[in-house]
């Protein structure tokens, strides 16, 4: 009998701390599968953010560095410049990447750093109890937008892929989603390509993954995936923004 799906080698064989049904876990497995398939575990260095996945350094079997909130792209720059042979990825939430870390992500992209960023957009600050993120949807109620996100006060959600697409050094940009099997398959394809782009020294690569936070959205895990499909994808269109046909 052949294995169809099993725990990838690059993923540690320990329980993860995420809430039931939180899609962070899915993204973790995908990354680990890609590391396995590209056979790069031994030279990969992952960078953990500050957010619910702050301690995913325990979950990946490669060398890992925990970065300050929002600074993963700067930390990654330091590592990659020190050792260009390594494959370096950052794993960041929407608070981490799109709020406090705005400067770092934009300039890593501008410099065309050879990094791969996995950007987990769940439209909320998961870890700190559900505050509004720059990516929170219009009218979405959060603990710091109790009356919903309102344009007059909060402006409109930030579209990170669209923003980064204007930057020349960002050579591979794709938005994917893990709300269903097709999404999961596409997410994996995109992440794999984003790693390959780095390995062929092309420039900065990022995959935004629409992800769920059932706990802070106040929904069942299954309902949360539906919400991604209905609300998030509507506002954040999936697809490749740059580098689709790049040879790697």
């Amino acid at each position: 009998m052949a294995t169809v799906v099993k725990k990838p080698h690059a993923l540690a064989d320990i329980p993860m701390h995420y809430c039931p049904g939180c899609t962070h876990g899915i993204v973790h497995r995908i990354i680990a599968e890609v590391i396995d398939e590209l056979d790069i575990e031994g030279k990969t260095i992952g960078i953990s953010p500050v957010g619910c996945s702050y301690n995913n350094y325990d979950y990946f079997n490669c060398d890992m560095v925990q970065a300050a909130h929002g600074r993963a792209p700067a930390v990654g720059t330091g590592i990659k410049r020190a050792n260009p042979e390594n494959v370096v990825f950052t794993y960041q939430g929407d608070g981490d990447l799109a709020a406090i870390g705005t400067g770092e992500i934009i300039h890593a992209a501008t410099r065309g750093e050879k990094l791969t960023t996995i950007f987990v957009n769940n439209a909320i600050y998961g870890m700190t109890a559900g505050q509004m993120a720059p990516t929170t949807l219009m009218n979405q109620v959060t603990s710091t937008s109790p009356y919903g996100r309102v344009a007059e006060n909060h402006g409109f959600p930030l579209k990170v892929c669209e923003l980064l697409s204007t930057i020349e050094g960002a050579v591979f940009i794709e938005r994917a989603s893990v709300h269903d099997i097709k999404g999961i398959i596409n997410t994996k394809k995109a992440i794999k390509k984003a790693f390959k782009v780095q390995m062929s020294n092309k420039g900065f690569a990022i995959v935004e993954v629409l992800s769920s936070c059932p706990t802070n959205w106040g929904m069942s895990p299954a309902k949360a995936l539906e919400w991604i499909r209905e609300k998030m994808i509507d506002f954040y269109p999936l697809g490749n923004f740059k580098g689709e046909n790049m040879e790697v």
């Binding site: 169809v4 049904g21 876990g25 899915i26 497995r29 893990v178 099997i181 895990p221």
Partner: protein
């Protein structure tokens, strides 16, 4: 014939596997696991196509699928 196995004690009872199974054969068990959740399982393995969807969506790497 496919084989779907569950690391039951890792299951958090999120039911995403239930939702995604095209054959609707994944169910939540009555018992509690060590964590205090009702773990998932397959009720009729014969109907399983080994598509792997349940394992692909499981956020906690509970499921392994062989075919």
């Amino acid at each position: 014939m496919a084989k779907v196995s569950f690391k039951e004690d890792r299951c958090k009872g999120c039911k995403l596997c239930v939702a995604v199974c095209p054959r609707k054969i994944v169910i939540m068990k009555d018992k509690f696991n060590l964590k205090g959740f009702h773990p998932a399982g397959v009720k009729d393995m014969d109907l399983c196509t080994g598509c792997g969807f349940c394992a692909m969506i499981c956020p906690d790497c509970v499921i392994e699928v062989e075919k």
